[in-house]
């Protein structure tokens, strides 16, 4: 592992004038500063104002008012939205791990014939463009015409139909299925990679079927896989927490369960998006949503930081 960073200091690097260094960095710094950093700072600033679409000339600073309203109002949406999102993250990650682990174990079994075929077939969802597949899945879930319900009708009679998109739990399960479909191949690859570096005898031990095998698996294989699985799990949880496109394209955050609450699959990013660009929003309250965004940033930032420091300490441990 050439870590660059550790030994560079002793090395003679290329010497150029300060102006030259600055010129090399300039395009990147200007673009990031203007297009990435400025909106972040501006969001921070907005969160302390009362900026809406209609008072853009007269708005002013109001301190922590938006945060107060978000956290302490009795009818706040914040906890409902975060709760739904966390539930989604937990259910999705559970299935990522379950399916990723079982497919990896199956693909690591040398007695299975046609491993090459199975492997390619199981990894197809990874190569598929996620935005387009979301729209395809939306049709598969269609109540009247979608093939899932149609196949169900072949087996269970004409009256059969699962109300996928239109009921709260139907929609929730639908977006879980799609996210699992999109994401399990990543876990298959990570876990398969880790399994293949388990020494042969130990790897075979994990593949034994029956009661003893389960114990082998939990006491030998699983601890060996943990360093690979932990960072992958945290990172997937972060990605799922901020998931937007797939869920939005399928449910638009719906369905609504009661008039004063956000939709059942209205996860954090979708909640923000609908409050700014939703067709039913007459007067978007930019400042309020900015405060919401800053709170999400604090959650995501701490999770990312945690993931990174966990990953680093593990890497050091492994190299020691």
């Amino acid at each position: 592992m050439s870590h660059g960073y550790d030994w560079e200091g002793e090395k003679e690097m290329i010497k150029v004038s300060r102006v030259t260094i600055f010129l090399y960095l300039l395009p990147m710094i200007i673009t990031i500063g203007l297009i990435t950093l400025w909106p972040i700072i501006y969001t921070f600033y907005l969160s302390f104002t009362n900026y809406t679409l209609f008072n853009s000339d007269t708005y002013g600073l109001i301190g922590f008012g938006n945060y107060q309203k978000l956290i302490f109002t009795t009818d706040t949406d914040l906890f409902f939205v975060i709760g739904q999102t966390l539930l989604y993250v937990i259910v999705c990650v559970f299935f990522f791990l379950l399916i990723g682990m079982s497919t990896a174990l199956a693909l690591n079994n040398q007695k299975i014939k046609g491993l090459g075929f199975w492997r390619v077939a199981l990894l197809v969802p990874w190569a598929a463009p996620s935005g387009i597949t979301a729209l395809i899945w939306k049709f598969l879930f269609n109540y009247d015409f979608g093939p899932i319900n149609q196949i169900g009708r072949v087996f269970f009679g004409k009256g059969f139909g699962i109300p996928w998109i239109t009921t709260p739990w139907g929609a929730f399960v639908a977006v879980v299925i799609v996210n699992v479909w999109l994401s399990y191949p990543f876990f298959t690859i990570v876990i398969l990679g880790a399994l293949q570096s388990v020494p042969q005898e130990l790897g075979e031990a994990a593949n034994v079927d029956g009661a003893g095998a389960w114990q082998r698996f939990t006491s030998i294989t699983l601890p060996l896989l943990r360093p690979a699985i932990t960072p992958a799990t945290i990172l997937s949880a972060i990605t799922t927490f901020q998931m937007f496109t797939t869920v939005y394209l399928i449910t638009q955050g719906g369905p609504i369960t009661s008039a004063d609450k956000p939709g059942f699959t209205e996860f954090v990013m979708i909640y923000m998006y609908k409050r700014i660009l939703g067709s039913d929003v007459a007067n978007p309250h930019y400042a309020f949503i900015a405060a919401f965004a800053i709170m999400m940033f604090i959650i995501l930032g701490s999770a990312t930081f945690l993931a990174r420091s966990l990953g680093q300490s593990r890497r050091k441990e492994a190299l020691a």
Binding site: M13, T36, I99, A205, A228, Q242
Partner: protein, 319 residues
Amino acid sequence: MSDQSMNASTRSEAVSTAQRIVPAKARTEEGSLALTLQRRFLPGFGLGLIYLFLTLMTIFALFPVYYVIQASLAGGQNLYTTDLHILPANPTLDNYVYAFTQLPLLNWIGNTFIVCSLTTIIGLAFSTTGAYALSRFRFNGRDATLNGLLAIQAFPALLALPAYYLLLNSLGLINNLAGLVIVYSAGTLVFGAWNIKGYFDTLPVELEQAAMIDGASHFQAFWRVTLPLATPAIAASAIFMFIGGWNEYALANLVLNANDTAGSNLTFILGLYSLQSDYHTPWGIFAASSVIISVPLIALFLYAQRFFKSGLTIGGVKG
């Protein structure tokens, strides 16, 4: 967009961490016991279950792909059909013909292609020069710049949605492809700079120093020596920059669809979405359009995989 690229890099990180860590810990003498255990249980029953599981998973993995292809070939349908076929009864290319001739499909593909290409070009130009400075020069604030880039990465662009909207609106870039290019390319830079810098770090600086002793300027050394050697990293980064924009919906909708004019100025994913939400378009045509747009992308992805192993280096982790 930045999520996408970050994802790619963390994937490679996780995979390589896995490969590195596991053997170091695997020191245990349980192997022989495990083998006896394995021999005692009849493998036939278990194997059957594994095949059953693999078959079910394959159906799950391939069903959407199969279904969209068969629907795209089914002809002569009305709006929607409730007939279920395993293979279309009369396969035809009508849906494809319709998609190309009656829909603004080529406009959408063209828009997406222009946006993604410009994003990739700008992203590469700005991140390679930045990465070169961060890898080869020593200056005050270098560490701060590197860490600052990572910190920015933790803030998803979507969170700054209100600010983006107000910024682009005041610049007159709403409903303008250029606005999208600017937002996307900024989103590629952190990933690009870190990934390419990581690769530059693995190349010996002596090569450039030798070139400079022979009279090359620092820019010539960068352009003629370093860049060609860094092709794998540049190719991998370019592909992630390109693919990221192809799939992106939220920012594209923010920038392009503000007036809700479903028309020829959309990117592909927006157009496809408008097709599906409008109930006058038969599903077969939507399916054909999806296939048309997915095939080049999947081909690119499969072709590009050769670069992923050597070209993704984020965090200096490179085997």
